[in-house]
Symmetry: C2
DNA sequence: CGAAAGGTTGACACGTGTCAAAGTGGGTGG
DNA sequence: CCACCCACTTTGACACGTGTCAACCTTTCG
């Protein structure tokens, strides 16, 4: 069978997507599921280093990540960048664009990626028809608000070691939910990007990695990290609970 | 007329509320407006220092502030508090509760306040009926995401003076949109609460106020602030544009 | 193979935190 | 009504964590 002349073969509907439980609500019957496939208009490939969207660009769609890894960031006029998040398969990006009909951050692929394009008009229309989808959309937005609350806590109150511990625990937990290891991970971002997200300089990120490594808490070799003592990391993140 | 025996007199419907344009969508006809009044179930008074809701509490409603002033905050297990926002009349709080059906932050009145209680079930039901309300709810949530993005930028990249300048400019701009002065304001929060929001200690907040005052940029006397040179503040906040 | 990008480490600087003391103002009870 | 008290604010001296600058190392990729 020649896939090239059957492009529809590539179209993986939500109803048949193994990430469905991550980006779609559960509890649908088959008929509803078919209707729900209409949320996704197309798919789009984004090469490593390319922009999915950028600040100021017209907002039309949300994007569900099928494969790959993204960072989102905002910048000041004088060129300072703040990474606002790292997103992986099953997560939805683009919510920032709704308020002003223009995107308010940049989304860059940190590896070759594949996203489902969900025109927001479709999302809203189907949300009116399916309360469970409506609730799902509200939860996704609320989850993002809560996530950002905890980043504010991290940036406002925590020290370098706590920030990096929280970051590693969060990453490995999300990867584990996707079937990856609980203890090993390969970072898709640079020290500078980690630092930007965590409000510290790249040298401080590097030093903190080294310190964790010297303390026997993790093994680090460049982008590869193995968590040797998860409890020690948790203790650093939350010194009170132990 | 004895208001006490006509409690319904106190019920101010959205259709007759002068804050409508802040917390409700525009472009309704009168009939729709009447239906929309159903969003608000009741009103609730919150005394200065009292909680409107607190972390862990069951989520049922969003709250639109009619009068007064709130802070929202999250805390770590070891007692550190991060103020996540200050909210004034016309703004909606409680969005953090949607994702988990439980509130994820605390909301405390910083002065005697009055809120419209909007059961979220009503909001969702009417949203399905009125696309313009649906869009409005989405925008409110998206606006909060964008706001938090810029706080992340502030906490991650800016120095004390820039943070306080941004804070003052933001406050005075929101107050001005509500008919107050562009140049004078009375802070409803302590130095410690400002510091928590901006990721700095209360002493640093106080010193930075003093420095602005010495530089002739503002007049400060305790909670009272007058902005003498708004352009100087803007220049500190964004040194590039000038 | 060479160059560029990313990562590590060291020495030092500096902004903000910490600790302490004194000043100010608003609320409350006698 | 006034005095006291307590919460809040200001200011100073010093400490410390992280930033800055620089040199060198490692890996990737054309």
């Amino acid at each position: 069978m020649n896939l090239a002349i059957h492009p529809e073969t590539f179209k993986v509907a939500c109803s048949g997507c193994n990430l469905r439980e991550l980006c779609m609500p559960i509890g649908f019957n088959l008929d509803d599921m078919k209707r729900l496939d209409e949320v996704v208009a197309t798919r789009r490939r984004v090469k490593q280093g390319d922009l999915l969207f950028s600040s100021g660009e017209q907002f039309t769609s949300l994007y569900a990540i099928r494969t790959g890894f993204f960072k989102t960031s905002v910048s000041t006029d004088d060129g300072r960048e703040q990474v606002t998040g790292f997103q992986m398969a099953g997560e939805v990006i683009g919510l920032d664009g709704i308020v002003s009909d223009h995107h308010n951050c940049n989304a860059v692929a940190l590896e070759d990626s594949d996203v489902c394009v969900m025109p927001f008009a479709n999302v809203e229309e189907l949300s009116r028809e399916f309360p469970v989808l409506q609730r799902h959309v509200h939860k996704i937005m609320s989850r993002e608000i809560v996530r950002e609350n905890s980043i504010m806590m991290l940036l406002g109150n925590m020290r370098a070691e706590e920030r990096l511990a929280a970051f590693l625990l969060n990453l490995v937990q999300r990867l584990h939910a996707r079937g990856f290891s609980q203890s090993e991970l390969v970072l898709r971002m640079t020290r500078e990007e980690i630092g930007s997200y965590l409000g510290m300089k790249l040298e401080t990120v590097s030093r903190t990695f080294s310190k964790f490594s010297e303390d026997g808490i993790i093994d680090v070799k460049q982008r590869y990290v193995r968590i040797v003592q998860p409890d020690a990391l948790k203790k650093i993140f939350n010194p009170d609970v132990c």
